[in-house]
Symmetry: C2
Subunit: 533 residues, 2 copies
Amino acid sequence: MKRWNGWGNIQTENPPSAHTLEFLQQVLGPGTSQQSLSFEEACAKVPDSRLTESPLWDTRRETRVRYARGQSLPDLIATRTGLELHFPDGVAFPQSTEEVETLVQEALQNGWTLIPYGGGTSVAGHINPPMQEKPVLTVSLERMNRLLSVDTESHLARFQAGVRGVDLEAQLRAHGFTLGHFPQSFEYSTLGGWIVTRSSGQQSLRYGRIEQLFAGGLAVTPQGRWELPPLPASAAGMDLRQLLLGSEGRLGILTEATVRITPLPEQEVFHAAFLPDWQQAMQCVRELVQKRIPLSMLRLSTPRETEANLIMAGKPRAVQALKKLLSVKGIGDFRCMLLYGMTGTKPEVRHLKGQVQRVLQKHGGMDTGTLLGKGWQHNRFRAPYLRNHLWEHGHAIDTLETCTTWERLEDTRLGIEEALQNALRDENEKVFAFTHLSHLYPSGSSLYTTYAFRIDPDPEVTLQRWKKLKSAASRAIVQHGATISHQHGVGRDHAPYLPPEKGNIGMKLMHTVVDHLDPQRIFPEGVLLPEEV
Amino acid sequence: MKRWNGWGNIQTENPPSAHTLEFLQQVLGPGTSQQSLSFEEACAKVPDSRLTESPLWDTRRETRVRYARGQSLPDLIATRTGLELHFPDGVAFPQSTEEVETLVQEALQNGWTLIPYGGGTSVAGHINPPMQEKPVLTVSLERMNRLLSVDTESHLARFQAGVRGVDLEAQLRAHGFTLGHFPQSFEYSTLGGWIVTRSSGQQSLRYGRIEQLFAGGLAVTPQGRWELPPLPASAAGMDLRQLLLGSEGRLGILTEATVRITPLPEQEVFHAAFLPDWQQAMQCVRELVQKRIPLSMLRLSTPRETEANLIMAGKPRAVQALKKLLSVKGIGDFRCMLLYGMTGTKPEVRHLKGQVQRVLQKHGGMDTGTLLGKGWQHNRFRAPYLRNHLWEHGHAIDTLETCTTWERLEDTRLGIEEALQNALRDENEKVFAFTHLSHLYPSGSSLYTTYAFRIDPDPEVTLQRWKKLKSAASRAIVQHGATISHQHGVGRDHAPYLPPEKGNIGMKLMHTVVDHLDPQRIFPEGVLLPEEV
């Protein structure tokens, strides 16, 4: 069963090693262990529903607690402490496009707000019920999880949009195919959620972002059904899929999607290599991607993230041996870890290895084989579990991400890290921040920054700390001309920072499109577009 | 100097061989040689301009004749016979974004129509002045052809949008880069034109369509300047570039564009191979593209196109020898020619050759080396010149194109060819049609169909023949659920067939966006969106 107040399945734990806890205490100071609100206490906070009873939705308190919040840090604060914890008036579980149409009609007739809900994994506030006079009905698509058809000739598959990553891959695997979209939220996030928030998977280097994988689909809008044909390419005017992609539930509810699939690969391996310093390391990955070497993943950690990862691995003797080995090759304290993936036929993987080796050597790098890569593979979807435990030890951990051109990348990274490190100076609280590049393009890269700080016994103080950190980092992103999100979407948390990126004309265009399809505003205001004051 | 009544430079000729003429007479019947309207006769048809005199635009008759029409077959009929030949009231040649803004303001204040004009190579009626009460000012961007900046670290270049393909590549070459966008219109078509019509180049397999190459830019809209930042990727809401891409001048005038560039390749070769029949040939190219073998071009001709090309090559003895060689390998009368390009470092090209050979062998194919590939390379931008000459011999030649999934591809091709072949049955006129695949995707392919028919001494009859052919083929495309254009855009000619593809919601969305940015309709109605009746 899914946790109601933190990441993941209640049966899965990923506790931090003693080394991790020690390390965090060292860099942040000791944490205060936290009590958490119980499920019963949360249920007791749920007010009466403003919806009439209906077999189409569930108004039980237990259900409304489970669909109250996503997975952002403020969401964790809310579910762990009860601070600013609001609830939908009910949750619907439609099983078909027709049932979604019925819900949209109900919302139009009764003046309700509908919150489209995929896997509940948003880290930007997309699915949080607003405090408002209008009743709020959350529409979970979890029962719409079927594979509708597979075209093995054209490598296309049509799914109901509520299918979760794991179930989507399992259904495709039975036909010998994969979508290849593996965001960290893969266990819970859904195809529809990926599409409307422009998600990017860990192996986007091979398979593309969801924009490249989404061929067409069907959405229910307040103006009727919107069908987008799954053409391979077209010059027939504007590409309207690109309005649905990134629409974040403001235009309608996506119920079906056709995606581009790939035969399962013969082989897939992940290697770890080390580079002597950050400048060399960035040049190395830039060369790999600009040379179009068809790797399936690249993930490069700064020296600080590399060191943190090695400490948190909790195997000090093995790490010591590794460091010694690296130092023989002239790779010392500024070492950067590069994880890279190779996917394809066996001869292709062999050929790729040779290509990577040549570039690594040129930049003074050293390949250490598949051991650390296997470790990453094993943990690739487990990192979010760590946060549940760290909370209990008094440490908050959060991530943020952006993307910019190579030319601006280093200034942007430094700007973000510095903004975070200084954001709690007034309280004399320390912040520990480190970064990796995980989605690389010939013209630039994403930046993914993790930051940790101490939880205060007063949840209001903790939330204020997060707000200071988030706004300092977001302002730094905007200042450097980077995007406010590379993969998490806009939601409520990033909406205030969207106007500088889209410009006046761009913002008006998005408002116009929303106005046209949802003039009555049955979808939640404040998501994607900042609330009009 | 550019021809005013046909394709290309007046100094370049590409006359048909005697074999070509003989072949066309054989399949269509003898043509009647045509007289053409002289430039002076055309100028005499130009009415007085309804614009005031200004240094900002040119109202001379000579200039207005030169900017009257694009390169569609009806455009050729118009400029060769004077039928339905209308003219803009003037032509402006702005040199900066500010000058474009001035023109937009003039149009808003005076109620004029502005026709954004790139290279004048539209084959779908984009730039043709409508017959209307409002004065029409054509805005040619040809003087906005400068490279503004190159970021060699991020592989980005910013150009003024009026730069022609040849000039763009020459400017990039000086920096060691290429854009890699080579549509057949490359000599004249412009970066801005490519973007707003969603153009695709002959080597899109390597470099991507213009959608993938266009990173950001600046457009002047009636609501003000619209700047789109050149981010490598973003999840920050809708991708608004995708509204400008394919906007066909209905939203504003693109004045600057940032594009993703690639270092010049070390090696580039084009090979020709032959496959025993169409089914095997389609399976072969589908396998090549679905295996992600990174070729830079694939172009597969049906047996009928293969035969026509071999005849039109005008070297019967060499062709005879080739056929004999192929028949030894079991490749006979149903042979299909496959041209493929390999681009990269020398080791990469060598590696690619091996990969292609294995797939070719599996499908009974035979590689014939680079000879025919070199011939294609030499003529890759010259084919349109042929049409000028064939017109004079009484034969009209036109092309059309679409794209669909592999599953639907063969039915769609047969539907289009059959529709064309039957379209002039009522007049007892023959039509010769043949097809190739030239832009291939894992999920499907473009279809590019060439068709020839006889010109009638009465231009009105010729135009009616074209209309019958065009509408029969367009109806077939729509019936099969394919796109109304893969690379030529919508313009005026395809606009009536857009609604089935975009659907009711999609059409309304496009209208909404146009209404918002151009409420006064200073950009030409009837382009992209069918005229509202």
